[in-house]
Symmetry: C2
Subunit: 345 residues, 2 copies
């Protein structure tokens, strides 16, 4: 094994480190007037609405560096923020990145992290325009704020779902959660036996969904091309049940979704079975899918079904009818937001 | 002593906690179209430039909860971000707040923190429009992003200082640093003898500068009234030397400042003497003053000297002449950025 280069962060200091990590940044968006290097970034949003979202990711809570490579972590940290902007029917354009890091990290580690962030920014057309780097006494802390643009009248909130609207999801659900279960299992195995090599063959898809998720840029673009503005939308980060209950709560409506229509990938099902776990539970409560959940008027059915990667899974009802999933045997089961609640015990 | 109410965070859960802490927020700025409660906030900056700044504050590195009350911490966390926006000659309008918290914090603790943030937002006319709350395995993590507005052509960067420009600072320097030294000393005394009561009489000013700093809103407004647009500007968070070297570096100029002109408060000097410490060193390298450092063309001298709270401390030179402070005995000493470098050893 080749020696891994390790340069202590103290050799650069705080300002040196920021310069080092940001010196190759080139601004690509016309709305990015001034990026890193002043007290604040300067953006031009004169003809658009500004969308702002922020996420805090803490080591040991949101990620485990024993199996998450730093490059992947950087990629994912950026993408999950882009996902929130797409979920408003907007386009992410700028991010700021703040990092808290202890001495166990080297400059090369942070370069890996930034490489991942840069890859995500390249792919999604986003500029890094600011940030902050600080030492930390303990684990790694990542805080990302993403700024995006939306068009007046086309921004989609959570509160616009109406009775008879169709409920749609993109892609498939539960894969990222099963990927996480697999990684956690292999970690425990490795802890007990250092000689073992994890066997991930045939499970690449669910691992990728966990380690390198993507945001739904293409879907937002297709919806715009077809002139479809959803009545409500969210990204699925805490699980379908939790998100759908948010939409129903804020829109003051109920819903029916159908078990047989929930999109679940084959690898997700296989992995769930191996864990004696219901694939449906992974899909409803698993989280970290970063797919989009949205509603459209019933009249858009013909337009929607022609778009690859979108599935209609049910419809919106009056609020009094509650929020239920209809099982394959015809039973109605109330949706509950178990979600991925990092603050409960 | 009355019993302190303590409600465990787990009784509310993550979403409940965010709702609880944000339910009383009312948006005040016309640019704040939609705040907390969706995937992203929505802002209208159609006639202005958008300014964005972010700060990460970590327990044990940036603050010590043994002597910093949570309400003050909330206030300060918000104000230091506003300060960055003023330093661009802008007006802060929105913030997002992300908190990482361990179980040792109760809901009442977080209410105190938010009360401080709210007080600052009220005073400076800023809306809270988003955030994230997460559990943390260790200390408290605070990440704040502030969005502000600037006028095209009037945004002030660090790179515009020109030869013969006057160098100005607001208020006085070094007080926050001496306040910190005092708090640290009293903490050590208390650790050794729990019976002692700290004696802060006559030292209220430097304590307030450390615990409850203010941003320079009024100065920015006066400059606008008098139609003065600085050629360069920064807020003084890492110490005058460090900031002035940033301005000289980015503007490719040198400078001369004069020891006798550096504004230092009486309490700062008294405290420094008690610590056998040079007041000038506190002013040059102390940090956390959140005063403004800016340059104006020489022709603005008459306008500037009529503004209370602004002091001219020197002038900008050609780059080749270097950056020096001229002592009271006429010696030239090179400025060095010792700053407050949290990543060095």
């Amino acid at each position: 094994m080749s020696e891994i280069k390790r340069t202590e962060i103290a050799t650069l200091g705080e300002f040196g480190l920021i310069d080092h990590l940001t010196k190759t940044i080139e601004l690509k968006n016309i709305s990015s007037l001034k990026g890193v290097g002043d007290d604040a970034a300067v953006l031009d949003y004169s003809s658009k609405r500004v969308l702002v979202t922020t996420d805090l990711l803490l080591e040991g809570i949101h990620f485990d560096l024993t199996y998450v490579p730093l490059k992947h972590l950087g990629y994912k940290s950026a993408v999950v923020n882009f996902s929130d902007i797409y979920a408003m029917n907007g386009q992410p354009k700028q991010i700021t990145i703040s990092l808290g890091i202890s001495k166990r990290f080297s400059i090369e580690d942070l370069e890996d992290f930034y490489e991942g962030v840069n890859m995500a920014c390249e792919k999604y057309g986003v500029d890094i325009v600011g940030g902050d780097t600080s030492s930390s006494l303990t684990g790694m802390t990542i805080s990302i704020t993403c700024i995006g643009e939306g068009e007046e009248g086309k921004i989609v909130y959570r509160n616009g779902a109406r009775e008879t609207d169709l409920i749609c999801v993109t892609g498939n659900l539960g894969a990222a959660y099963m990927g996480l279960q697999l990684l956690e299992r292999e970690k425990r195995v490795l802890e007990n036996n250092k000689e073992t090599q994890p066997d991930f063959a045939g499970k690449e898809y669910i691992l990728e969904r966990q380690l390198k998720p993507e945001a739904q840029k293409a879907i937002i673009e297709v919806l715009a091309e077809k002139d479809i503005v959803p009545t409500s939308m969210m990204d699925i980060s805490d699980g379908l049940s939790s998100e759908l209950l948010h939409i129903c709560g804020q829109s003051k409506v109920g819903c029916r979704i159908f078990e047989e229509k929930i999109p679940i990938d084959y690898q997700t099902s296989v992995m769930a079975e191996e864990f004696n776990f219901s694939p449906l539970t992974a899909a409803l409560n698993g989280g970290e899918d970063y797919e989009l959940l949205f509603t459209v008027p019933l009249a858009k059915h013909q337009d929607i079904i022609t778009i690859p990667g979108i599935r209609e899974i049910g419809y919106i009802t009056k609020e009094a009818l509650g929020s239920y999933i209809v099982t394959q045997t015809g039973q109605e089961v109330a949706l509950s937001a178990q979600g991925w609640n990092s603050l409960s015990e």
